[in-house]
Amino acid sequence: MTVAIPSSWVTHVGLEIHVQLLTNSKVFCACRNSYGDPANSNVCPVCLGYPGVLPALNQEAATKAYLIADALESSLSPEVSFERKNYFYPDLPKNYQISQYAVPLGSGGRFTFECDGDEKTLRIREVHLEEDAGKMIHVADVSLLDYNRAGTPLVEVVTQPDLRSGEQAEQFLIAFRSLVRYLGVCDGNLDEGSLRCDANVSVSGSESELGTKVEVKNLNSFKFVRAAINFEASRQAEELATGNSVRSETRLWNENRDVTESMRVKETDSDYRYFPEPDLPPYPLADEFFAAVKQRSVELPLARRRRFTAAYSLGARQAAFLTAEPDTARFFEACVERGADAGAVARWLAGEVQRLLHQRHETLTSSSLTPARLTELLSLIESGEINGKIAKQVLAATLATDRDPRLVVEQEGLKPVTDTEALEAVLEEVIAAHPQVQAQLARDDNKPVGFLVGQVMQRTQGQADPAAIHSLINARMARVQQR
């Protein structure tokens, strides 16, 4: 249970985010970099730490790491160099981790994201590349080790303590996840562990002063990140309020009890004795390497959101929805390029399209809907060939049967009834069936117009064009007036 922090306290939160890169092979060996395979099926002497093996840096991992650093506006190191972080743990095959320390590949930087309805800029301290450890599962009195994950390329992004609450941290992570997906470097699955996060939390009396930092680990979802940070901040505030000091330590989030708990760490385990990795001399990156990084960098989510808002006159929420996933943004712009109205595309994508995709457990890219088809659908509506209600039916049919909307309309006979004579006949039928409506119309009372339109729609299975019905009613009323 969290207690709201008195407004006299300021919470300072910095995050350490681990990003598992999408590459074919691991960072220092040629084993497959893949999730979910049988235990120890993607291992070799190198990633198992056999005697005599050496690490061989994966160029694509380096490129993707620099891509992240570049997107975060960090200063990029012209040479990539590594250090050994020495500690013993069964999931660490060499009992040291090849990481970066003195010279990370990216230093400084910043990231602007949507926060509490406004934009917030967070300072980045560093970006570095390292290898992941294996996985351990504890069962009864044994621990099971699976080294498939050992040697996976990890990029660690360390922020400055610029976040002020669990909510801000959560919003940052959502935006950061969007960023790595945009860059195509990570799939951002917190539950699979491809994106992991630790928080450093402190509380103090002012913005400019930091308190004693506590590291919080075991945050496996955005929700837990928010809850854990808020709990920890209020815990620290309580301590300080009662005159105690906060102990600098590592705490684990207990998701069952909703609290952070102290984790005993041996003093000897925290001296990592970093020294330069002798097996990987500093590698001078060629101009071609940096050119490739620049070429692969993409318009980032926030920039795209701003552009969409300006260029297409979209509302903030629409722009946010369209730019959350790169696939959605691409789809949207493809439609607009084909001549569709931006506003209409945005409304349909956020509305009916999303609803149907969700129902069908599909994504935009995996579904039968293409920019061409959505554009076609919208032009059918615009030209009056179908109305909005029919359009929804057509969309569902397109998704279900992989047909173009025009074809659906033709084959299902969904063309609207535009035959004025037929419509008039139906209108007269309705009026005749409702004498009080007849009377109202005679008095030039247009209260029953909506009712009449609805009735005609019903009797034409929704295929009548409401506008046409309106015109007929108006014309009839005019004629009646003239009498």
Partner: protein, 493 residues
């Protein structure tokens, strides 16, 4: 290649063709090994089929070469698939290597055959080859003195005539010192010239795979096959063809380079070694070389700096040996995994290894790293500058391999600490990365004394050329009881 060398090569190559010869040879090697304990593993019969394969049929065919059919042994800290990889340690006593070191694979592709694994000081740590879990190696010249280390097994295997060449590793002199103690040739290549993939790391920035051979030309042939960049070793270096030959004065066989001798740094030599140095100098002059004085003022700091760096890197390199993924697991395990790790390591490592791991851990600790590790790495920069500067005035440096002749086994010899103090002459080349070749010079009181030549980076060619010329003019004496192919080949006229 000269006639003697050609004859020797033909003799060894006949092993592939002649099963009866092979059998006699195998018997003799076993007999020798029973006395000398140079080999931890020797079983050419179980791999009989490798002799039937035509040369170079492993993976990529190679044309017949100087190395075709030659048997060799590999120090047991270098990986050869399906052979053991004990590293002379209890901890890895039963480990079978699943892969082959790049350097070994290149030799196999050229037609040479691995026939055994050589004994060594545990994990390459030592200068005597007495620190092995498989017993000490015996020097064929005199059982009362050490064979040198840590590649003692490799050196003895060649000195005793079991094989014409062997692979070892040289971190602080571990190929050159035993080669000189056993009267044979020992090459430490330039750091980065030969792939280290498959060499069990002791000190990664100092280690190289080296060659022990019974002649300079054979060492050259082996080096030429082994060398070259390897994508699996990112510290290996690609040399553009121009630099593969040192060029200049080596272009002609009669070229006579200037040789520098750091006399003022060599103040503590045993008289026998000082005599050998003088003898070597006069021989060089006789073949037309000019000798000059050079300075190596940093030599007195070489050994302490070397041991700081070596033990520090070793403490990290040996951390992987915890019994979890391979190797001997401590059986007295009750309770936590921590116990398994502590137990496996404490039971598996010998005293010398433990000492070095502890020293190495200490010098990296927060608060100590600056005065030990950082300082040693700065001294290293000064040492390299010193060597480079000396080599501006000459083409080669000449210095002893070791300041004393092979020392006695056990008490009466040098103790562990003293052995470290005198490693300076060999450690120089490891700190600076330069290539160096140890070669036999003389016998004194029945014990071999060798010298070493150092050259600029990637100028190994120069070393072989001069050593070869000295060898042809002053043939090297073989160890007593050494096997030769002539012994085994029935007189055919």
């Amino acid at each position: 290649m000269d006639q003697q060398a050609q004859q020797a090569a033909r003799g060894w190559a006949r092993l592939s063709e002649d099963a009866a010869l092979r059998s006699r040879w195998g018997e003799r090697v076993r007999t020798l090994n029973a006395a000398l304990n140079a080999l931890i593993q020797f079983d050419p019969e179980s791999r009989e089929q490798q002799w039937q394969r035509p040369a170079g049929d492993l993976e990529h065919a190679s044309p017949p070469s100087r190395l075709t059919g030659l048997p060799f042994v590999v120090k047991d800290n270098i990986a050869v698939a399906d052979y053991g990889l004990t590293c002379g340690s209890n901890l890895l006593r039963h480990l079978q290597s699943p892969y082959t070191a790049t350097a070994v694979a290149r030799l196999q592709r050229a037609g040479s055959r691995v026939v055994g694994k050589a004994n060594l000081d545990e994990f390459g740590m030592g200068s005597s080859s007495q620190h092995s879990a498989f017993g000490g190696v015996v020097n064929p010249w005199d059982a009362g003195v050490v064979a040198g280390g840590s590649s003692g097994g490799s050196a003895v295997a060649v000195a005793a005539g079991m094989v014409p060449f062997a692979l070892g590793s040289d971190t602080g002199g571990s190929v050159r010192q035993p080669a000189s103690f056993c009267g044979v040739y020992g090459l430490k290549p330039t750091y980065g010239a030969v792939s280290r993939f498959g060499l069990v790391a002791y000190a990664s920035s100092l280690d190289v795979i080296g060659i022990v051979a019974d002649g300079a030309e054979l060492a050259r042939a082996v080096f030429e096959v082994m060398r070259g960049v390897d994508e699996w070793d990112q510290s290996s270096i690609e040399v553009a063809p121009d630099d593969a030959r040192a060029g200049g004065s080596d272009a002609t066989p009669d070229a006579a380079p200037t040789v520098g001798i750091p006399r003022s740094a060599l103040s503590d030599l045993d008289p026998a070694v000082a005599e050998a140095l003088a003898l070597c100098e006069s021989r060089l002059q006789e073949i037309g070389c000019k000798t000059v004085n050079v300075e190596l003022a940093t030599l007195e700091y070489v050994a302490p700096a070397y041991y700081v760096i070596a033990t520090a890197e070793a403490s990290a390199n040996l951390a992987r040996f915890d019994g979890i993924r391979y190797g001997n697991r401590s059986s007295q395990v009750a309770g936590a995994a921590e116990e398994l790790v502590l137990g496996s390591r404490s039971a598996g490592f010998g005293q010398e290894v433990k000492t070095r791991i502890l020293v190495g851990t200490y010098v990296l600790r927060a608060g100590f790293q600056e005065q030990y590790y950082q300082r040693a790495q700065r001294i290293r920069t000064l040492v390299r500058r010193d060597v480079d500067r000396a080599l501006e005035r000459c083409q080669l440096l000449l210095l002893p391999t070791y300041p004393v002749p092979p020392f006695k086994v056990g008490g009466g010899g040098l103790d562990e600490f003293q052995q470290k103090q005198v490693d300076a002459y060999t450690c120089v080349a490891n700190l600076s990365g330069h290539p160096a070749l140890a070669f036999p010079v003389t016998i004194s009181d029945g014990l071999p004394i060798g010298m070493q030549l150092m050259a600029p980076p990637f100028a190994e060619d120069r070393l072989f050329s001069i050593a070869g010329r000295l060898e042809r003019k002053w043939p090297v004496q073989r160890a007593p009881g050494a096997l030769t192919m002539d012994d085994l080949v029935p007189a055919e006229g």
